[in-house]
Structure formats: C-alpha cells, structure tokens
C-alpha cells in the first residue's frame, strides 16, 4: 500500500517537474509578452530533436547540451519576437486585437516549425536511452534519468525565480507584466523586455524538450501539441501570468495525471481537460488568484 502510494506520489512529482518548467515558459510568454504561443510545444520538440542529434551523432552528454541549447533557443525566441511580434504589436489597434492575432500567428509558426522538423529529421520515431538504470526508493522503483530531470527542472525554476526577484532586468520584466505602458513611461525599454520574455519562454521550452527526451520518450515532429495543451492547462491552473502559480500548478497536474492513470489508464487526458474546463468556469483566476 505504502509502496503504491509512493509510486504514485513520486511518479507525479517527476512528471510535474517537467510540466512546471514548460508552463513557466508559456506563462512568461502569455503573461508578459501577451502572446498565447500555441507553438510552444514545437520548441519542446525542437529541443528534444537537438538533444537527440547531439547525443547520437556527436556523443554529447545531454546535460552538456543543456548549456549549448539554452543560448541558441533564447536567441531564436528573441529574434522571432523582434522581427515578427514587435511590429505586429505596434500595428495592432489594441492589446485585445494583438492577443487574438498573435495567437493565430503562433499557430502559423507551429506549422512552419513542425514541417521544417519533418523535412530535416523525417517522420520515423526517434529515441535514445541515457541513465536508464533503476533506482529504488523505499521499494518504489524509478529510472535515474527521471530523477535527473526533476532535479534539473527544479534548479532551473529556482534560478529563474532568483533572476526575476533579484536582478534589474527581472524587475523590468515584473514591471512590464503589471502594466506595460506605465513601465515604458518609467524608462523600461518595453519592446526589448517583451522580446527578452519571449526568448526566455522559448529557452525553457527548449530545455523542457531536452529533459523530456532524456526520459526515453518517443521523439517525433508531432509530439509538440500535447505539451502545448498541458502548458495551457497548467497556466490556467496557476493563474494566467502568475509564474509562481504555474510552477506549483505543474506539480499538481503531474500528481493528478498519475493518480487518474493509476485508476483508469487512458482517461488522464480527459481528466486534464475536465479540470481545465471546471477551473475556467469556477475559478478563472487560478488556484492562487485573488
């Protein structure tokens, strides 16, 4: 009984770590940059493919790829925001219009990235195994790579939290999240900051994908959308734009997922959406909202 319980709880936490990481990235892009980035999952997919290529072709350890991938993904996101979303935001009549059109544009981005990946890597499923030996924890057994992913995502989350709380740029980001116009009046270079947020969001998606690929999942060009949906659900769970909430929400959803799939496998996605819809109806500001 206790072992079962540990199985479920630890399994949920392990899954939740990754959910939390990708949701924080998504939350940053929507909460601050106001782009509901449907292509978030595609960057996760790209992260997974990049790691797979580095590992199988050049034998680069996935944990070292973490350092290689982070700046690359950040730059991709930053450039996309500067060249596309910034002019779109300037030319939109209102923020509401921008939210609608940027969401649709990100859907276009989804197709573009997905098909580039299809052309580069092809449709067949890819995967690799890394640190796949079992670790026993009071009788509950897990593979080592899952523990590594949990640790990595918690550490990344903490680093980012400190960055937001302690640095000047972090302060600018928080100001931009509260009121972009006021922040601009106070001398924050608003478009630079929004692009930074989008870049950080993309970076976390890429790193999330990297960690996901370590847990021997199947890597395909079509794996992204599922993670986008999970990110959306977690972000609503934690409250839109609430970064701490997203982090906690990720763990909650991970736990719920393992509990439901323990009772009735196959219904976990249904349960996710049910929670999501109920939350939107009863408490749209999220569990941590006012």
């Amino acid at each position: 009984m206790i072992v079962r319980f540990l199985d479920i709880v630890i399994g949920g936490l392990l899954m939740g770590g990754i959910y939390a990481l990708i949701a924080v990235g998504f939350s940053l892009q929507y909460g601050v940059a106001r782009v509901l980035n449907v292509s978030h999952g595609e960057f996760i997919m790209l992260g997974a493919f990049a790691t797979w290529s580095l590992y199988t072709l050049w034998g680069v350890n996935p944990l070292i790829s973490l350092v290689i991938c982070a700046p690359i993904f950040f730059i991709i996101g930053f450039v996309i925001h500067r060249t596309y979303y910034t002019p779109l935001r300037i030319s939109s009549e209102s923020l509401a219009v921008f939210e609608g059109s940027s969401m649709l544009a990100s859907f276009g981005l989804l197709f573009v990235i997905q098909n580039i990946a299809l052309i580069v890597w092809g449709a067949p499923v890819k995967g690799y195994s890394y640190l796949a030996h079992p670790i026993s924890f009071f009788g509950a057994v897990f593979s080592a790579n899952r523990i590594v992913t949990l640790l990595a995502s918690v550490i990344l989350g903490l680093i980012f939290y400190l960055f937001l709380a302690r640095t000047r740029i972090g302060k600018a980001i928080r100001a931009a999240a509260q009121d972009p116009d006021a922040a601009e009046l106070m001398g924050v270079r608003i478009h630079q900051v929004l692009a930074l947020c989008f870049g950080f969001g993309t970076m976390m998606a890429g790193l999330g994908g990297l960690l996901i690929s370590m847990t021997s999942v199947m890597i395909t060009p079509f794996m992204g959308l599922e993670y986008t949906l999970i990110a959306i659900i977690v972000v609503v769970l934690g409250g839109l734009g609430n970064i701490k909430g997203s982090f906690i929400g990720g763990f909650i959803l991970g736990l719920v997922g393992t509990i439901v799939s323990y009772i009735q496998p196959g219904l976990s996605l249904v349960a996710y959406y049910l929670i999501f819809l109920l939350l939107l109806l009863i408490r749209p500001t999220g569990i941590l909202g006012k």
Partner: protein, 314 residues
C-alpha cells in the same frame, strides 16, 4: 434613392447568376471538380456560420471542430436507419443543444478565457469519444454508407443558401444590431435594454447548428470516421483564419476569404504535398501581419483611393 435601387437590382442579378451557376455546375464538369467545389462550399458555410457569432460579438470561438464532430457522429450513428434530410437535421440539432448548454455556461468568460475554454472543449470531447470507443464499444472509428457525390453537392448548396439567408437576415434585423452593440461594449448594450445573455447564447447555438449540419452532410463522403478526423482541431482554426483573410465587415468577406483559402489549400496540397503545410503556415504568418482587415480591407482602401483620386493620396 435611385443609386440604392440600382445597387439592389445588381445584387439580385448577381445572386441569381450565382444560383444558376451552382445548380448547373455538376452537369458540365468532372466529378473531381464537383467534389472540390463541395469542399470549398463546406469551408464557406463553416466560416459564414462562425462569423454569425464571432464576427459581430468579438468572442473568438475555437469550438467549430466540436460542433462539426457532433454532427459527424450523429449522422454516422443514424444514417443507416434514416433519410438524408432527417439525420442532417438531427446532427444540426445536436450541435445546437450542445452550443446552447455551453453558451449558457461559459459566455460570461471574456476574451482569452473564452477562447481557451472552447479550445479545451474540443479536446475534451475528442479524448472522451476516443476513450469511449476503446473501452466501451471496443472499436475505434466506424464505417459510414457513402452517398453519391452529386447528392451531397446539392445538399451542401442548399445549406449554403440557408446560411447566407440567415446571416443576411440577422445582419439586417434588430437582433443583429443587438449583437453588434455587444461587440462594441457589452455593458452599454445591457444598459440599453439588450438581453445580453439570451442574444449571445441563441446566436452561438444558431451558428453551431449550421456547423453541425455541414458535419452531418460531409460524413457521407468520408466512408470512414474516427474521433481524430471528426474532431480535427484544424476545423476550429480554419474558419477563424478564413474570416480574417476575407474580412468580417460585409457578407462577401467570409465567402471570398473561405473560397480563396480553401482553393489555395487544395492547390498547395496537390502541387507541393511535402511543403504544403509549411507554405500554409507561412501564408498565415503573412496574412496576419500585412492584411489585418483581410481582402475586404484591401478593397476598401483601394475604393477610397479611387474616390479621392490618385493625386490626392499622400
């Protein structure tokens, strides 16, 4: 006054011409072209019905795929025992009821929240149906008896005319004005005596009805359906894009947008099967960035310039 009557008679002639063309079309062209036109009309209908609700109120609904799928399943279950018009109607009514229920529950959500809810709804229903088929029925997907493509074509033409008529009537009526005022400012609309909830829910349900009807009709062409084709999320995004591409201020906007877009869709899919979705994504990107008011906006800009004379344009 004279100009107005002239404009109307011109419009009347155009509509009659269009009707003759649509009805006579299958007699003179190949089966492929009939099927192709059926597809185009399907998107035109979905886009028009989407615009009935979302175009005027400004609530972006991503639920069309859910209503379409409900129609598909209704007709897949009933088509073996009932006539075409009957189960098409039932498909539409099923979507109507679903939309009525959802509308009542959710229309107090605004903006992004409404969009996310409708998006989540499609996925919820799809996963639930999938789970149901795997665990309860034991078979995923089902076979559907196929009807002749010309029968389906005519059914679609009739639905198209009905949607056109409905949108026109709604636009010209007090009801349409109420919708418009909700889109401009909901609080003001409520204060001027519009029963905001009733108007919104009813319109949402009417728009869902037509999408369900199309779903029920198109099923007869597919032979085999399963949850991922019936509740294809692309069906939710396409009408939004097509409406934006065409523009939503006039009735011709969505029609032009959906026609051009689905035409492009077909050509890209046959000419460049490998790069098709890539090109599709790029098109979306460009349209949203450079044509925020769609074809309609371009035409209006052009009209204004014409009226002012080319020398005056800055």
């Amino acid at each position: 006054m004279k100009a107005i009557t002239k404009k109307y008679s011109l419009l009347g002639i155009l509509i009659i011409l269009l009707l003759i063309l649509l009805v006579g079309f299958p007699r003179y062209v190949s089966a492929y072209k009939v099927i192709f036109l059926t597809n185009v009309l399907m998107y035109v209908i979905i886009t028009l019905s989407w615009v009935i609700f979302s175009g005027s109120t400004g609530y972006i609904s991503l639920a069309p795929a859910a209503f379409f799928g409900v129609g598909v399943y209704a007709s897949a279950i009933l088509s073996k025992s009932l006539f075409l018009p009957v189960f098409i109607l039932i498909g539409g009514l099923a979507s109507f009821c679903l939309a009525f229920l959802i509308g009542g529950l959710t229309l107090r959500l605004r903006g992004m929240y409404f969009m996310m809810f409708t998006f989540g709804l499609v996925e919820l229903i799809r996963h639930f149906v999938q789970w149901w088929e795997v665990n309860i029925t034991g078979t995923v997907g089902r076979l559907v008896p196929v009807l002749h493509h010309i029968t389906i074509y005519y059914a679609i033409v009739v639905i198209f005319l009905l949607v056109l008529l409905t949108s026109y009537v709604i636009r010209r009526s007090k009801f349409g004005l109420a919708l418009q005022s909700i889109g401009e400012c909901e609080e003001v609309a409520a204060h001027t005596g519009v029963n905001v909830t009733r108007v919104k829910v009813l319109t949402f349900a009417v728009s869902a009805f037509f999408i369900g009807v199309v779903g029920a009709t198109m099923t007869m062409r597919w032979q085999y359906i399963d949850p991922s084709t019936a509740f294809d999320i692309r069906l939710s995004f396409m009408p939004v894009l097509m409406a934006i591409f065409g523009g939503m201020g006039h009735l011709y906007g969505p029609i032009v947008g959906a026609s051009i877009f689905s035409f492009l869709d077909e050509i890209l899919a046959t000419k460049f099967p490998y790069y098709y979705m890539l090109l599709f994504g790029v098109t979306m990107f460009v349209v949203i960035r450079f044509m925020p008011h769609g074809v309609e906006g371009v035409i209006q800009k052009w009209n204004k310039r014409e009226r002012r004379g080319p020398s005056e344009t800055p």
